[in-house]
């Protein structure tokens, strides 16, 4: 149960709940509850893995009183982005925050525009000119390299400003949120079923993670549990999505150094998985499978057989790829000791996913929480301690073999699962709850609040890339600029997921 506190008590509460990083900050977001007479509210959720739960506090602001509060970033460094986002979206100002530049809304928006307040129309077309100053290092002999938002390759948009001392990157400032589409506002007033196609399209690579977290939250509000068969299929889909993404990354990371045989093999394997996904879901990104209350389609005997076949084939390829990486000394030379994230940094930033686990931080929602059928699969997080590009590559390979095994186990579970029911009917009721699932990039958190008509009052999406992006700017420091693509690819962070 969330404790309600006044803005003055936020520092104490943050200290207590975070317990020096023992309980990572999962999410911090605002909500406009002025209509029910409460005011503006900031929610802070912390993870308590020892009890497999989340707990936290909410800070209530009187809309006619002061909208300032003490920034908790110096206690919980992971809060830095959340506080900036809350300022952009609700106009609640964190005093003492080290960097109060806009995060989400760029120059074409006016200064006092807070889109997630309820008095702003969803399609408000206001224009203005905010200021955004890119941060650079100054000094004799230093120079800047601006990159993006439109990049040279086929990737998503973001602006990077490197402050260089010769070849070495002294500092990187990233201006992101270019693909901000206002999704959290767009779904307000829709029923969860109506909102689903939009939630599914927050990010292409994390379709299953986003829909699963979203549906979990909705199902918790409605107080129902999904049929066992659906739970197994959902877990299976999640692992297929992870395989597609990780295999793609194994083909992508070598592209950062021009290691062509590996790029080619990785590309082949990824295509095989994508085609399998189409056979399963009718869409190469597994869209249309997870629905509130269960899943839309079954995985029958014939399909199970196909999944077995393709996964075995891909597993072979991954093994060969990992041997190729290990054998190639000049490749190892590039990936080892490149882009290091120390374990303490990972904990401070509450990093998730591959990024965290490659730095010795065993942060994995599949073992930290109880959802799907992971508890029956004896899942253990796979970690490495070096925190460099090589470690992130090895974590992916390790996780892939775990996923291949889990897929086999899940298909066995399906074949002995007598149940045929795939979904249950939902009656949307008023309430708020959260859902979590482990995407290929890390844990994906959704907070959903439904109003008395069962329509969405607030959706907050914290994808896995959100806590990991700030870590990228730390990882590059001191490395040379040609290593940036390599380091960037080793994190493989989504832009669409964080921008929303």
């Amino acid at each position: 149960m969330m404790t309600t506190i006044m803005p003055e008590a936020i520092l104490m509460a943050a200290e207590k709940y975070s317990a020096n990083g023992a309980h990572p900050l999962t999410a911090m977001f605002g909500r406009d509850e002025t209509a029910s007479g409460v005011g503006y509210v900031i929610y802070c959720y912390f993870e308590f893995p020892e009890t497999k739960t989340m707990d936290g506090f909410k800070v209530v602001f009187n809309p006619n009183g002061s909208l300032e509060y003490d920034s908790i970033t110096h206690i919980v460094p992971a809060a830095a982005w959340y506080e900036r986002e809350i300022k952009d979206m609700f106009g609640l100002v964190p005093k003492g925050h080290p960097d109060l530049r806009p995060l989400v809304l760029h120059e074409s928006f006016p200064e006092d525009f807070y889109p997630l307040r309820k008095n702003v129309q969803v399609n408000a077309k206001v224009r203005g000119d905010r200021k955004f100053k890119v941060r650079t290092a100054k000094g004799e002999g230093l120079f800047e390299v601006p990159v993006g938002p439109i990049h040279a390759g086929i990737i998503e948009p973001g602006h990077f400003r490197f402050s260089q001392a010769g070849e070495a990157m002294l500092q990187l400032d990233a201006k992101l949120f270019f693909t901000h589409r206002g999704i959290e506002k767009a779904v307000e007033g829709k029923s969860p079923y109506e909102a689903l196609p939009i939630v599914e399209r927050i990010c292409g690579a994390c379709s299953i993670a986003n829909t699963w977290s979203f549906c979990q939250a909705v199902e918790k509000i409605c107080g129902i549990s999904v049929p066992r068969r659906a739970e197994i299929i959902r877990t299976l889909l999640m692992e297929l999505e992870r395989i597609a993404n990780h295999v793609g990354d194994l083909g992508n990371i070598p592209a950062g150094v021009g290691f062509n045989p590996a790029i080619s093999l990785g590309g082949r394997l990824k295509e095989k998985v994508m085609r399998l996904c189409e056979e399963v879901a009718g869409n190469r990104f597994l869209r249309g499978m997870i629905i509130p209350g269960g899943v839309a389609m079954d995985v029958d005997e014939a399909l199970s057989e196909r999944i077995h076949e393709v996964v075995d084939d891909v597993a072979d390829g991954v093994e060969d790829l990992s041997i190729m990486f290990a054998e190639q000394e000049n490749f190892q030379n590039r990936v080892q000791t490149t882009g290091i994230i120390r374990s303490q940094t990972a904990i401070d930033l509450a990093m998730v996913g591959v990024g965290a686990r490659a730095s010795g931080y065993a942060h994995d929602s599949r073992s930290d929480f109880d959802y799907g059928v992971y508890s029956e699969l004896n899942f253990k997080p796979y970690t490495k301690t070096m925190g460099d590009v090589a470690a992130r590559l090895l974590v992916r390979i390790g996780e892939l073999s775990a996923s291949f095994e889990m897929v086999d186990a899940l298909l066995d579970m399906l074949s002995v699962c007598g149940e045929t029911e795939l979904s249950v009917e939902l009656n949307y009721t008023e309430g708020a709850d959260w859902g979590i699932s482990e995407s290929a990039r890390g844990s994906n958190f959704h907070y959903v609040a439904l109003d008395k008509d069962g329509r969405i009052d607030r959706l907050f999406v914290r994808s896995a890339s959100y806590p990991n992006w700030p870590a990228l700017t730390v990882a590059v420091q001191g490395d040379i600029i040609p290593d940036f693509p390599l380091i960037n690819k080793s994190f493989e962070l989504c832009y669409a997921c964080i921008d929303r």
Binding site: I150, R181, I183
Partner: protein, 248 residues
């Protein structure tokens, strides 16, 4: 080194003929007929306003369609409760690139005479969910090998004949799209790739969205799909190469 060589010899040539056919569950264009009342239902469940009904006829705006299958689902559900025939269903092929008038005839020759041309493409993500971008990347994998048709992705709009826009144009990227278009040499083409760039309805209208790509720059070619599969993108790119040939 050994493994690299072994794999090169072991792997057979993967490159395939481009085929628009998909697997049995693939949600492609809609076919079939249904009663007026059923169609009305289909139109109501469409999340992107692509399903238009006129009496017992219907049209689907494939620029907007996200191929979620809700119309087919609604139709099937009604059929079960009322004991009718299933009505609408999906074809299991890619929806063909929707071209403007000038492009229609070009498409006919696309697959016949495909070699010996060149097209330089600049990708621009104007606010996509990255599914289109991943599929665009997949066009270069050994199965599709886009480069065999003389189509190349280039690093700058100044080197490009075609701007391939994915995603609904966001406020934060509107300027970047305009500037990239302005930077291209003539003759230039713009392709709106996927339901967001082509139809702009995927997320509805919000404070952060400008709309479909043609709200900002002139568009020559629309590719349906959410996302379009690599095969559909390749057919569209070859059509673009033909269009470009006619403009030079």
């Amino acid at each position: 080194m050994f493994k690299v060589l072994e794999r090169i010899f072991k792997d057979k040539l993967a490159t395939e003929q481009i085929s628009l056919a998909g697997s049995d569950r693939y949600r492609g264009p809609i076919e079939g007929t249904a009663e007026a009342s059923t169609l009305e239902l289909c139109s109501n469940v469409c999340p992107v306003k692509a399903f238009a009904v006129n009496g017992d006829k219907y049209t689907i705006d494939y620029k907007k369609c996200i191929f979620c299958g809700r119309c087919v689902e609604a139709c099937a559900q009604k059929a079960i409760t009322e004991g009718q025939n299933p009505g609408l269903s999906h074809k299991h092929i890619d929806a063909m690139p929707y071209l403007i008038e000038a492009g229609q005839e070009a498409l006919q020759d696309v697959l016949k005479e495909k070699l010996g041309r060149s097209l330089h493409v600049r990708h621009l993500d104007a606010g996509s969910c990255n599914a289109c971008d991943f599929e665009m990347g997949a066009t270069g994998n050994p199965y599709y090998d886009l480069a065999r048709y003389g189509v190349h992705f280039v690093a700058s709009p100044r080197h490009a004949d075609l701007l391939m826009v994915t995603g609904v144009v966001t406020r934060n990227l509107e300027m970047a799209l305009k500037m990239s278009y302005e930077a291209m040499p003539e003759p230039r083409l713009v392709m709106a790739c996927g339901a967001c760039a082509a139809g702009g309805e995927t997320y509805g209208d919000t404070y952060a969205i400008v709309g479909a790509a043609d709200q900002v720059v002139p568009v020559d070619l629309y590719v349906p799909g959410c996302p379009p599969r690599p095969s559909a993108m390749i057919v569209a790119l070859l059509a673009a190469a033909d269009m470009l040939k006619k403009r030079i």
